[in-house]
């Protein structure tokens, strides 16, 4: 016990340390980190587009589709949270505002994915985000 206890403590500490790394920290945004966020938003939009394409072609089971759409919404919520908490630097302020607008369009497309499945809505958001990415 004399040997085991400190070692177990060390193990728990190491495990806690490893897991602490999994926690996302609030971000200070510069041009490169904003670009990464824009790329992540593009991913969500493209995957929404792909889900709709496969859904329309009858290639997805209903359960898979619903769960996958929920994952997309979860990913979107993370993007939105990061954007809400982020502190953008002065030189990217206008690009950041633009990005937040695109996020709103993406949110609208995602919320309508169930009732009004329009692939075009995602295509438009993806194109806008790609255009924004090129400016960064």
């Amino acid at each position: 016990v004399k040997i085991a206890l400190p070692l177990v403590r060390a193990g728990v500490f190491a495990l806690a340390l490893a897991l602490a790394g999994c926690v996302d920290q609030p971000k200070k945004l510069d041009a490169s980190s904003l670009k990464a966020e824009v790329q992540n938003a593009e991913q969500v939009s493209r995957e929404g587009e792909m889900l709709l394409e496969l859904r329309t072609a009858g290639k997805l089971t209903e359960r898979f589709r619903k769960v996958q759409e929920l994952y997309l919404l979860k990913q979107f919520d993370e993007l939105k949270k990061t954007a809400d908490e982020a502190k953008p630097s002065a030189e990217i302020q206008s690009a950041f505002e633009d990005y937040k607008q695109k996020l709103q369009a993406l949110e609208a497309a995602l919320r309508r994915i169930e009732s009004e499945p329009h692939k075009e809505a995602f295509e438009a958001v993806t194109n806008d985000l790609e255009a924004l990415e090129k400016t960064l």
């Binding site: 792909m50 359960r63 898979f64």
Partner: protein
């Protein structure tokens, strides 16, 4: 005929059990980002796992030594314990990621709540290990993992660019600046580590002792490791090809397990989707069992407790409690809500740091003629083994810095 049948089943189980959540995460994403350029890492990692597993099999058959017997003998109690601690932290993290992965796949298949699936599947896996003999545990999950061959069919059906694909087996650097190069290195280390995950050799080595291998089993050991793992590597390579041929042209980065199943759905419709999900379910659940048992094997071998599924739980109380605790601990980590995909990325990168500590004593003892006699490593095995060890050490040194500078593969 019976022996050939048993050998065939062993090889098939090794094939089906080869892929785990780490490979699912790293390979498809690597294909999506670098197309076929990282296929050579698949070959390199497979040579590594074949070399070390075959050595572990020989060590189990001749001097009847499991990995952590060797580690304690070679390192002594202090460094040996550090290795045990590091290995088991990685095992618990990997097991947590695998459990989370299975719960996600169950949800994609049947709906329901993630946390309820997690609790139910942990109970089912504990029950399965308690009820089934070792050979059946290995074969049930390994053989059902063969459904992952769906991804090979998808890869072929996607009509990949075969010339580009062939070029992928020759190492070359990507263009696109330093950050892109660092991202390439991060994925190379990730694939390499996921193919060489230390729990695989702990499990293989202990499995040899569980099945009471003798010198007469050495040809089977060689065939199982060479043929079984090479066929398993075809599935890993197919995942890279799927990433390159389906996700890369669409600029999609499949960061979720469900996203990896979109390609089979696209190619083969609902049947493809279901087969892909079932294959992933079997192989990831099998890996959860292997990591959990590997952790208990390591602990008991190091502290000289009786261990093994060939003995009843009453004869091995510490072993039984240890693997149950590992399962519960892993479930607890996943229940806190950490994303299993993030956990697996950490576990794969931390695993590569543990690899040199695991592989050095195996190489030394398997090459020692006073212990192995005529079964000691040949000159070729020594050269390949130490070359692989050097590569593993380089990867270990680079792993954590690469993880930091690429923000876990997101920046590049």
């Amino acid at each position: 005929v019976r022996r050939i049948w048993q050998l065939f089943l062993g090889i098939m189980a090794a094939t089906g059990g080869f892929v785990d959540i780490g490979e699912l995460v790293f390979t498809v994403q690597a294909g999506a980002q670098f197309r076929y350029m990282l296929l050579w890492v698949c070959v390199l990692g497979t040579i590594g796992i074949i070399l070390f597993s075959e050595m572990c099999g020989r060590l189990a058959a001749i001097p009847k030594l499991a990995t952590f017997h060797i580690i304690r003998n070679k390192y002594g109690s202090k460094l040996g314990f550090v290795t045990l601690l590091a290995s088991n932290i990685v095992n618990v993290l990997t097991c947590a990621a695998e459990l989370g992965g299975v719960a996600i796949i169950l949800r994609l298949l049947f709906g329901g709540k993630y946390s309820l699936w997690l609790i139910a599947l942990t109970a089912v896996l504990i029950g399965t290990i308690l009820l089934l003999p070792f050979k059946y545990i290995e074969r049930v999950f390994g053989l059902s993992g063969l459904v992952m061959l769906t991804f090979v069919a998808v890869a072929v059906a996607l009509h990949p660019q075969w010339l580009e694909l062939a070029k992928g087996f020759v190492p070359r650097l990507p263009g696109g600046g330093t950050q892109h190069l660092l991202l390439y290195a991060y994925f190379a280390v990730g694939i390499f580590s996921s193919l060489l995950m230390p729990y695989e050799v702990y499990f293989y080595s202990s499995g040899g002792i569980e099945e009471e291998w003798e010198h007469t089993d050495l040809p089977d050991n060689k065939l199982t490791s060479i043929v079984g793992f090479s066929m398993g590597a075809v599935v890993s390579a197919a995942l890279i090809v799927v990433g390159a041929a389906f996700y890369a042209p669409r600029q999609l980065n499949p960061a979720e397990l469900g996203s990896s199943a979109l390609a089979p759905a696209f190619q083969f419709g609902k049947v493809g989707l279901l087969l892909a999900l079932l294959g992933m379910l079997a192989t990831v659940a099998g890996s959860a069992v292997e990591t959990c048992l590997a952790g208990a094997y390591n602990f008991c071998q190091f502290f000289h407790y009786k261990w093994g599924r060939r003995l009843s739980p009453n004869e091995t109380p510490v072993f039984t409690k240890t693997w149950i605790i590992i399962f519960v601990l892993a479930m607890g980590i996943t229940l806190t809500g950490y994303d299993p995909i993030k956990i697996v990325e950490y576990s794969v990168i931390f695993a590569v740091v543990v690899l040199p500590l695991t592989y050095a004593p195996i190489l030394i003892v398997a090459g020692d003629k006073t212990i192995m006699g005529k079964y000691a490593n040949s000159k070729l095995q020594r050269i390949l083994g130490w070359t692989m060890f050097a590569l593993v050490t380089i990867a270990a040194a680079a792993a954590i810095p690469l993880m930091i500078v690429t923000e876990m593969g997101k920046k590049g």
